[in-house]
């Protein structure tokens, strides 16, 4: 068992009260698993990713636990968490384009970062060069400044840098969102390759783009308004989703071969509820075609088949 998250609650402090961005989330990620998290914006997927490595100053840990390889992570304690960062949990941020200090050569920055972790740069240099080559970069990039690299190159440098100390868990937040389709494919392939080489034990890939997840992820977790909706193998989520939200989300994707001149591509009516004071019960209720009285009570996130969990009263 690599990662196990139990009833995790993370709130944002705002002037109008706490926004319950993550409201009781329980799931597990197995060794070697690449889990994708999908959902529309504001559903809590980025909050979940941040909560696992570094809460920002507005975020508050309101309850629940995170355990990695059997050890509990002190996610609310920034100082204590530092020991776990990079070596055990690592991150590829949303902003890989600007993730590196513009006035330091890349090699120098890596050297500084490794020194802070008591690792000698010269010791890892051969491995670093090997991995750069693996993602199609010349070792010469270490002598360059970030501005001298293209967006895709920076993304790959960040990928290599983030995984250099072989973390147990890698969190990739919108890794491919800023890239064009061909770079997207290269990065997606590199992610899988890194897992296959054992550079990273397991991975959480956060994106709003389900088609990317389909290329990369073994399992997909669908989130809605701070709650989990459904988790299943990627293929199952695409082909036979059970949760009405997942169905509508998948239904909103264009399909190859379909023509959209005559038929309208369906979106999902309505908006997610405010998380400042979320309604009780199932949060998708207001937009759900299958909603009935029972939905006023929150549905449990339970296993309906091997490796397939759903939170919906309409699914037996």
């Amino acid at each position: 068992m690599s990662l196990s998250v139990t009833d995790l609650r993370v709130h944002y402090r705002t002037l109008r009260g706490d926004v319950k961005a993550l409201d009781g989330v329980t799931f597990e990620v197995a060794d070697g698993e690449i889990m994708g998290i999908a959902g529309e914006s504001g559903c809590g997927k980025t909050t979940l990713g941040k909560a696992l490595i570094r809460l920002d100053t507005r975020m508050k840990h309101a309850g629940g636990t995170v355990a990695l390889d059997g050890e509990k992570l002190p996610i609310a304690d920034d100082g204590a968490m530092r020991r776990h960062r990079y070596r055990e949990v690592s991150l590829i941020p949303q902003y890989a384009m600007s993730a590196m200090n513009p006035t330091r050569k890349i090699g120098r920055m890596i050297r500084d970062l490794l020194a802070a972790h008591n690792v000698r740069y010269t010791d890892v240099l051969p491995e670093l060069e090997r991995r750069l080559e693996l993602v199609g970069l010349d070792a010469e990039v270490l002598k360059r400044y970030p501005i001298e690299l293209s967006g895709g190159m920076k993304q790959r440098v960040v990928l290599v840098l983030s995984t250099l100390l072989n973390p147990s868990l890698l969190i990739g937040d919108e890794v491919t969102s800023a890239l064009d389709v061909s770079s997207q494919k290269a990065v997606a392939r590199a992610l899988v390759e890194f897992r296959d080489h054992g550079f990273v034990r397991s991975m959480i890939v956060i994106t709003h783009d389900i088609s990317v997840l389909f290329q990369v992820a073994d399992t997909i977790l669908v989130m809605y308004a701070g709650h989990l909706a459904e988790k299943a193998p990627a293929r199952t989520i695409i082909d036979e989703p059970l949760h009405p939200y997942t169905k509508m989300l998948i239904g909103a994707l264009p399909k190859v071969g379909d023509r959209y001149e005559e038929q309208q591509l369906e979106g999902i009516e309505g908006r997610p509820p405010s998380l400042l004071d979320p309604p009780a019960g199932c949060r998708f209720r207001a937009r759900c075609p299958l909603a009935h009285d029972k939905c006023a009570e929150a549905p449990p996130f339970r296993e309906v088949a091997e490796g397939h969990q759903v939170a919906c009263w309409a699914v037996s």
């Binding site: 941020p93 902003y95 993730a99 590196m100 500084d112 802070a116 690299l149």
Partner: protein, 331 residues
């Protein structure tokens, strides 16, 4: 880099030519006639004597020639290091008078600029991470930055000079002393130096501190700082990076500020009757001394241009982004 230097040199060269031309032109556009003034000083009544003296002085100063020739002569003399003869301190050469005053001005300006830059930036960087210091440093910084140089100088002169009597309020050294290499004279020099230095130093200090504080806060919120923290980098490393990057706009600020600081130094010197370039400019204007005014302003112009040139070079060395931009490398 070489192309950049060449371009900069051309720009600075052009600026220099324009500055020197204006410098030559402005005294001539001022009302009043210096030769008349010198003749008047001699207090002669005889019209022929007056005519003879006027002719002599005009020839001595080259004022009998047509303007364009005066201009060319000015340039020629400039390259020979000859800035002309002072009218006010006739017959002392201008170059000598100015060179005597330059050390005093540099002596208060260079330490004031460098120290206020270093101290201000350090205080600002510390204020960015300490709420207590921030609450103290920020209002104090705004207060002293908003003060005009001469006003602060007068306050200091009154407070430390008149009320407390710790420091002398006027002059570069005691009038009873003769400039010489001795400990007593050096001590006296230092005592006279403190107040003019302090007023310049204090006014610049607040601006640097406030700027640095804001820049550091901005840098610590930036993506690279967040990424480093997420990868478990200690606060010290993140702050080190933030400080270095925040210094870049401050260096540009220094280049922009030089002229203002210099203006402040000149005014401060006048308040303290400090024998630097500022006092010289004032005396030259009061005495209609074309050549002294020209010479002094020339030194000021050269000083500002040189300092800006140095900062330009330093900036290219510390910020790689400007470097690649000018060699035309593709990102």
């Amino acid at each position: 880099m070489r192309g950049y230097l060449a371009r900069k040199t051309v720009i600075y060269g052009l600026t220099f030519v324009v500055a020197v031309t204006l410098n030559w032109l402005i005294p001539r556009l001022m009302p009043g006639d210096p030769v008349q003034r010198m003749v008047a000083r001699a207090a002669v009544q005889h019209p022929e004597t007056i005519a003879a003296m006027t002719a002599y002085y005009e020839q001595t100063f080259g004022l009998d020639l047509p303007l364009w020739q005066q201009y060319l002569n000015y340039w020629a003399a400039l390259f020979r290091g000859d800035l002309g003869t002072s009218v006010w301190l006739f017959p002392a050469p201008v170059a000598q008078v100015v060179l005597d005053a330059v050390p005093y001005t540099l002596g208060i300006m260079i330490p004031a600029i460098l120290l206020s830059f270093v101290v201000g930036n350090s205080v600002g960087a510390m204020a960015a991470r300490s709420r207590w210091l921030d609450n103290v440093a920020l209002p104090v910084g705004y207060l002293i930055t908003a003060m005009p140089y001469m006003w602060l100088a007068i306050l200091l002169a009154w407070g430390f000079g008149v009320a407390l009597g710790w420091f002398p309020v006027a002059g570069g050294y005691d009038f009873g002393m003769v400039p010489q290499w001795s400990w007593a004279f050096a001590g006296d020099l230092l005592q006279h130096w403190v107040l003019p230095f302090l007023s310049l130093f204090l006014v610049s200090l607040g601006g640097w501190a406030i700027g640095m504080r804001n820049l550091i806060i901005y840098e610590l919120e930036s993506d690279y700082a967040n990424y480093l923290s997420a990868l478990g980098a200690p606060k010290r490393l993140v702050r080190q990076y933030a400080f270095r990057n925040a210094m870049l706009p401050q260096i540009t600020g220094l280049a922009l500020q030089l002229g203002t600081i210099l203006g402040g130094a000149l005014v401060t010197e006048i308040v303290f009757a400090y024998p630097g370039l500022g006092k010289l400019v004032l005396s030259a204007i009061q005495n209609q001394d074309f050549f002294l005014l020209q010479g002094t302003l020339l030194f000021v112009v050269i000083g500002v241009l040189l300092a800006n040139f140095v900062i330009d070079i330093v900036y290219v060395l510390v910020d790689p982004r400007t470097r690649t931009g000018l060699t035309g490398a593709t990102a």
